[in-house]
Symmetry: C2
């Protein structure tokens, strides 16, 4: 098996699994219970939150633990008391929740590499905007957004509002689910008010996420009950899940540089090999500002779904885009947003590398992709009988 | 260690842990991804939902998987388009979410054993009531509610509404978190429209729950995104968690009769032994309609918190009531509702048995409780120098 869909799901790291194990079996106590072993569980839980928070330059008390990125994003959007602006290439969780929680919404354009159009942001940043949501890195292209520059624009707008006595709050949220294991995320340096992180994308367990909330940001709970997480997210704490997420985040942080370089090298090999296709590949995303483990590429004229099934039979697993959208057979809104033609979109695959991959795997995968593309190109008459 | 707080948390069953393990480490794929191993994960996930649903007499498609009972309850309450009635002894998740999601709310009284006052329900069941929420069994007393009788009252009210052309929907929700491992829960027999179940209370993992939704009940999502769980609860599926919950539910179902008898016997021993205290114990709850693993008892005049700390030093772990409420030092609303005096409430402990307990443990625990109660009684001058 050569798995190349780490943007869709990651295996739980063995060390993460080991860290979680006792909290399933022996240290299973309710963190709110009054006796010593339960208090120790509570301490371990809080300590894990601290470690996780430190990994993004925050404190444990700044985090609300959730059941994943989708819940975190919804919780973030609930803050908005006005219009929500979001990048047109955002994940469905941002687009759908912005539409529900915002008084109104508008999409910010991207350029053809998926990078935010800052002039479009400036133009749309009217006085009634309460929230801007821009992912740290896009989940189909890997394009990394200039969050600090966006934060600067937000600061300027805040100052203008202050100067004219306008008290409409304005917050910047970023979904860092995809980015966390590959770029150094620091909430202060990025200047975000809210940040979503997701265990399942960084070799931690599924069903666990967190929302970083800067001081003074007034989050409205989505669920009500026992008052856990400072009343912002009731429900018995998912102790093993949070312990696992923290461990995964610490490991990810330690290996960010090594991983970035590893994927840079593997990505270069992959791209070089894919150029051997009978059809010229169109590499998507931003060359300079991209997660190095992403290689999204279009073979115009090819049916990417057929390609994926062909590769599946050779135990190579890649995807056409976000798993949740792909499963519904929807045309990628991300690839539409960057201006691809229907033919280019239909021929697009997303290769995302991870810890299981090495050079040999990438070379094998590249060879198989080339072969499959060429077979398809011949079958459909895109190219002649010979390469 | 003698752990006697299974109502607060249960260890994950070894078989459950084994069932989850591969879905963390090797079968980690995103269930929405297009290749075969991911489709197999999707199948395993759906199969687990089916098994879980069968354990409560439902079908997999009737369940929405959540992050736990609190989320399930909130999702259920979101259905209400009018007044919500709930039992005064309900868990904070019901009380708080009913207050947020209901247009108004009212509490239904209980008798001194914690049993619902059906005449009070009838009196309060006005035409604007949209939802009634009554737990299958109370989490502090173990009192089992007559859900079928309540469902019958709901049916009568629905017919009355139908007869007068009133289309106000009326739904019955039950929180079966505590009950599931000890009584046979069957949604059809109970006649509920919505039912909450919770993995963490039945030897499954924390952070996983489900809401059963009868056909035709219009649930409004709390979070929006990728459209998983038929759009009712977006977010990548917590595959290992759901696989674990299903396994735990199947095991629980198999052992319901054996467990009920085991705890009946152990409970009888415990109560008999506790009568040896210098202070006469007041056994709370309903003798006939109670989860057999519950023994909630008051020693009037004793400070239960001191008792718990004394027992903790002997590695016996019990609680004063719901962990989340107890941790905030709040006076139990359940014990208040059944008409206990402040002195009786302050002297109340909750012993809840589980799979780890055997007769020897119960005898040891009983002896230690008696000793601790007697010491406290002497210290505070409640009884003379000699027992």
């Amino acid at each position: 098996m050569i798995y190349l869909d780490f943007a869709a799901a990651t295996p739980v790291d063995e060390r993460v699994f080991k860290a979680m194990e006792p909290y399933f079996l022996s240290d299973f106590f309710n963190p709110s219970a009054p006796y010593l072993p339960a208090k120790r569980v509570k301490e371990a839980y809080e300590e894990a939150k601290n470690e996780l928070a430190h990994a993004i330059g925050a404190k444990g008390a700044d985090l609300v633990m959730t059941a994943g990125a989708t819940e975190s994003i919804n919780l973030a959007m609930s803050v908005a008391s006005g219009k929500i602006l979001y990048l047109t290439t955002e994940h469905a969780a941002v687009r759908e929740s912005a539409r529900r929680f915002g008084l109104s919404f508008e999409e910010i354009a991207v350029d053809k590499t998926g990078l935010i159009d800052l002039s479009d942001l400036r133009a749309k940043l009217s006085g009634d905007v309460a929230m801007i949501s821009v992912s740290a890195a896009n989940n189909e292209l890997g394009t990394i957004q200039p969050l600090s520059a966006i934060a600067e624009i937000v600061r300027e707008e805040k100052q203008k509002r202050l100067a004219r006595g306008d008290k409409t709050p304005l917050y910047l949220h970023s979904d860092a689910s995809q980015a966390m294991s590959l770029i150094d995320i620091n909430v202060r340096r990025l200047g975000v008010d809210l940040l979503t992180i997701n265990s399942a994308k960084v070799y931690g367990p599924k069903g666990v996420g967190a929302l970083y909330i800067a001081h003074g940001v007034d989050v409205k709970p989505l669920v009500f009950g026992g008052g856990q997480e400072r009343g912002l997210r009731s429900g018995t704490e998912n102790v093993p899940g949070v312990i696992g997420f923290a461990k995964a985040a610490v490991i990810a942080k330690e290996h960010i540089n090594g991983n970035r370089k590893k994927y840079e090298k593997l990505g270069a090999i992959l791209r070089e090999e894919l150029k051997k296709c009978a059809i010229e590949p169109v590499f998507l995303g931003n060359k300079k500002h991209s997660l190095t483990n992403f290689c999204t590429v279009s073979f115009p004229g090819i049916d990417a779904e057929r390609l994926i099934y062909k590769l599946e039979s050779r135990e190579i697993y890649i995807s056409t885009g976000a798993a949740c959208a792909a499963s519904k057979g929807e045309k990628s809104h991300v690839l539409t947003a960057i201006g691809l033609s229907d033919t280019e979109i239909a021929g697009s695959i997303r290769v995302t590398m991870g810890v299981l991959n090495d050079e040999e795997q990438i070379r094998t995968a590249a060879r198989e992709i080339v072969e499959a593309v060429n077979e398809e190109a011949e079958r459909t008459g895109l190219v002649g009988g010979q390469k």
